[in-house]
C-alpha cells in the first residue's frame, strides 16, 4: 500500500516535470515560428491580431456586413442595332439599353429593383476580337456589352463592370433579353396592361396620361424603347417606363404560368433566341416566389450631362454609397 502511494508521487512529479517542459517547448516554438518573417507586406504575423475582419465595412461610425439573405441578378435589355467604337476598337454585340439589378430577399420573399442608367460613366474594359483585354476607358455603361460575343462573354463583362460601378457589390447571376423579344412575349401573354403615368402621346397617341391600356406587342416595344434624343435627360424618363413595363410584364407572366411554377418551360421556346442567362430553369421559375415592390424601385443617383456626342450620366458617389449601405448591408452584430 505504501509503495503504491510512493509510486503515485513519483508519477505525479514526473508528470509535473513533463508539463513544465512541454509548456516551455510550446512557448519556445511559438516564438521562433513567429519571428520567421520576411517583409512587412507579406508578414502574416499580425493576422490573429487583425482588428476588423475583411468583410467589415466601417460607415458613419458603425460596422456593417453584407446582407447574406440577398441575391442580386443583373437584368439587361439589349438593343443590337448599331456598333460601338471606343478607342478605335469596334464593339459589335449591341448595347445594354436597360440595366437593372433585381435584388431578391430570401427572408422576406420580396424583390426590389435598382435601376442603373445606361449612360452611367464608368471604366469600360475593351477586349479585342480574340477576347483579350486591351485597355479601359471611361464610357457609358451600356457600351460594355458591345465588347463581347453578344452572349455569355458580353453578359460576363457587363456583370463585372456593373459590380465595380456599385463598389464591388456581389452579383450572383444575369439575365439578358433582346429588346425585340418584348413584342413576342407581350403578344404571347395576350398583351400587358398598365396605367400610363405621364402624357406620352408623342410616343403613341393612345398613351394619354391616366389611360389604362393593354399594350400590343408593337406598342410595348415603343413604350420601352422610345427616347427623344433631342431632349436632355430623356433616358431617365425611359428608365421609368422600362421599370413600369417590366414589372407589369413580370406580373402577367406570373399570372399566366408562374403559379404553376413553370414559367420557364412555357416561354422558353419562344424566348430562346433572345435570351442569355446563367440561371438554371429552376432558378428562373423560382423568381415567381418573390413579390416585386414597385414603390421601392431605386435609381442610382447622379446627374445627366451632355457629352460630346451622347448623353453622359455622372454618378453621385456619396449618395450611391449611402444607397448601397442602406439596401445591401446591415449593421454587424457584435
Amino acid at each position: 500500500m505504501k509503495s503504491k502511494r510512493k509510486r503515485r508521487w513519483i508519477i505525479g512529479i514526473c508528470l509535473g516535470c513533463a508539463l513544465v517542459l512541454l509548456g516551455g517547448i510550446t512557448v519556445y516554438l511559438f516564438r521562433n515560428v513567429r519571428s520567421n518573417k520576411t517583409n512587412p507586406e507579406e508578414s502574416d504575423l499580425d493576422h490573429d491580431y487583425s482588428q476588423a475582419s475583411e468583410d467589415t465595412i466601417q460607415y458613419q461610425g458603425n460596422e456593417y456586413v453584407y446582407n447574406q439573405n440577398l441575391t442580386n441578378i443583373l437584368f439587361m435589355g439589349i438593343d443590337t442595332k448599331g456598333e460601338v467604337v471606343l478607342k478605335e476598337a469596334p464593339g459589335t454585340a449591341g448595347q445594354a439599353d436597360a440595366v437593372m439589378l433585381l435584388t431578391l430577399d430570401e427572408e422576406s420573399r420580396t424583390a426590389e429593383i435598382l435601376q442603373i442608367s445606361r449612360d452611367a460613366m464608368t471604366d469600360i474594359d475593351i477586349y479585342d476580337v480574340s477576347g483579350d483585354y486591351y485597355t479601359s476607358i471611361q464610357a457609358q455603361l451600356a457600351t460594355q456589352y458591345a465588347y463581347g460575343n453578344g452572349k455569355q462573354s458580353s453578359c460576363w463583362a457587363m456583370k463585372k463592370t456593373t459590380s465595380r460601378l456599385l463598389y464591388d457589390l456581389p452579383i450572383d447571376g444575369y439575365i439578358s433579353l433582346n429588346i425585340e423579344s418584348i413584342r413576342i412575349l407581350n403578344d404571347a401573354l395576350g398583351g400587358v396592361t398598365l396605367t400610363v403615368p405621364e402624357d406620352y402621346t408623342d410616343i403613341d397617341p393612345a398613351f394619354e396620361k391616366g389611360a389604362v391600356i393593354t399594350l400590343t406587342g408593337e406598342q410595348a416595344e415603343r413604350y420601352v424603347r422610345y427616347r427623344d434624343i433631342e431632349a436632355t435627360g430623356s433616358n431617365n424618363e425611359r428608365m421609368e417606363r422600362q421599370n413600369q413595363y417590366l414589372l407589369a410584364l413580370f406580373q402577367a407572366v406570373k399570372t399566366k404560368a408562374g403559379n404553376a411554377g413553370n414559367g420557364y418551360e412555357v416561354f422558353y421556346t419562344l424566348l430562346e433566341p433572345y435570351l442569355t442567362t446563367d440561371l438554371s430553369a429552376e432558378e428562373i421559375n423560382g423568381l415567381a416566389k418573390y413579390h416585386f415592390d414597385e414603390s421601392k424601385t431605386e435609381y442610382v443617383p447622379g446627374e445627366v450631362k451632355q457629352g460630346e456626342e451622347y448623353e453622359e450620366f455622372y454618378v453621385d458617389e456619396g449618395k450611391l454609397r449611402e444607397l448601397l449601405m442602406e439596401n445591401f448591408y446591415k449593421l454587424k452584430l457584435s
Binding site: 508528470l15 513533463a18 508539463l19 512541454l22 509548456g23 510550446t26 512557448v27 511559438f30 516564438r31 513567429r34 519571428s35 518573417k37 520576411t38 517583409n39 512587412p40 507586406e41 507579406e42 508578414s43 502574416d44 504575423l45 499580425d46 493576422h47 491580431y49 487583425s50 482588428q51 476588423a52 475582419s53 475583411e54 465595412i57 466601417q58 460607415y59 458613419q60 461610425g61 471604366d123 465595380r164 460601378l165 463598389y167 464591388d168 456619396g318 454609397r321 448601397l324 449601405m325 448591408y329
Partner: protein
C-alpha cells in the same frame, strides 16, 4: 482498459495545462511589451496642447511648404527619447485617435522593428517604423510608415476606420514631428490595396511612376476604401503612406496623406 483511460486523461490534462500556461505567459509578455508605449506617450504629453484641427468641410488650402525663420516649438523631447532609444527619429500623432507614437528606423535590419518594440523586445505590438529606403527627414516624395493592425486599436489598429468618409473628415490631419520640424499632412485616401512592396514597386523620383501609383490609388473602388477627391494631389506633392495589415496576406490597408505645411 482503465489504464488506457488514465493515460489518455493525463495526456489531455498536460495538454490543457500547457495551453493555459502558454496563454497566460503570452498575454503577460504582450502586456509588458505594449506598456512602453503608454509610458513614453504619457511622458511626451505633459503640458502640451494638440493644435486644433480645422473643422471646416472645405479642403485645406495647400501652401507651398516653406521653412520659416522663427524658432518652432517641438512638443516631443527627442533628446531624452534618443538617449534611451537611439533609433527613434520622429513622432507621429493623429489628434483624437490612438495614433501617438515614436517612429523608428533600423540601420541594420529592415524588418527588425516589425516584431520588436522600441526597447528591442521581440514580438507584438512591434513598433511604428520606416525602412531605410526612406530618408529620415521626410523629404522623400513618399515615406512609407508601417505599424501593426492591433485588435485593441493600438498601434495602427484604428486606421481601418478611415474607410468611413465621416471618420476621415473628422480626423483629417496627421502630424509628424522630428527634432527640428513639424510636418502637417492631410489625409486624402484610405485604400484596401494589394500587398506589393510600395517603395520597391514604384520609383517616386520618377514622376511617371509616382503618377502611376496615385492613379492606382484612385482606381480602387470598393466600400472598404474611401478617397477624398476634394483634396488635390499631384506628383509635385510629398505624401506619407501609413501601411497596416488587412486580416489576410494578399492585402494591405493604406492611409495616404499629403504634406500641407512644414515648419
Amino acid at each position: 482498459m482503465q489504464r488506457k483511460n488514465k493515460i489518455l486523461f493525463w495526456f489531455f490534462a498536460v495538454l490543457f495545462i500547457s495551453a493555459v500556461m502558454f496563454a497566460i505567459f503570452y498575454y503577460q509578455e504582450q502586456q509588458g511589451r505594449a506598456n512602453i508605449y503608454e509610458k513614453i506617450t504619457d511622458e511626451n504629453r505633459t503640458g502640451e496642447q494638440v493644435p486644433e484641427t480645422p473643422e471646416s468641410e472645405e479642403p485645406l488650402q495647400k501652401e507651398e511648404p516653406e521653412p520659416t525663420g522663427k524658432p518652432i516649438e517641438i512638443p516631443i523631447d527627442f533628446e531624452a527619447l534618443q538617449a534611451e532609444y537611439p533609433d527613434i527619429y520622429a513622432w507621429i500623432r493623429i489628434p483624437d485617435t490612438n495614433v501617438d507614437y515614436p517612429i523608428v528606423q533600423s540601420v541594420r535590419d529592415q524588418e527588425y522593428y516589425l516584431d520588436h518594440t522600441i526597447e528591442g523586445k521581440e514580438g507584438l505590438p512591434g513598433s511604428i517604423y520606416t525602412q531605410n529606403l526612406n530618408k529620415k527627414d521626410f523629404s522623400d516624395k513618399n515615406t512609407v510608415i508601417y505599424g501593426h493592425n492591433m485588435k485593441d486599436g493600438t498601434m495602427f489598429g484604428g486606421l481601418h476606420q478611415y474607410m468611413d468618409p465621416s471618420y476621415m473628415h473628422a480626423h483629417p490631419i496627421i502630424y509628424i514631428y522630428t527634432s527640428k520640424h513639424i510636418y502637417q499632412y492631410q489625409v486624402f485616401a484610405a485604400v484596401t490595396y494589394d500587398n506589393r512592396h510600395i517603395l520597391q514597386s514604384y520609383d517616386f523620383n520618377d514622376d511617371g511612376q509616382y503618377q502611376e501609383y496615385l492613379d492606382s490609388l484612385y482606381g480602387v473602388r470598393n466600400l472598404k476604401s474611401y478617397i477624398d477627391t476634394d483634396v488635390d494631389v499631384t506628383t509635385e506633392n510629398r505624401i506619407i503612406t501609413l501601411s497596416t495589415c488587412n486580416g489576410n496576406s494578399e492585402q494591405r490597408f493604406l492611409v495616404e496623406a499629403v504634406l500641407i505645411s512644414e515648419e
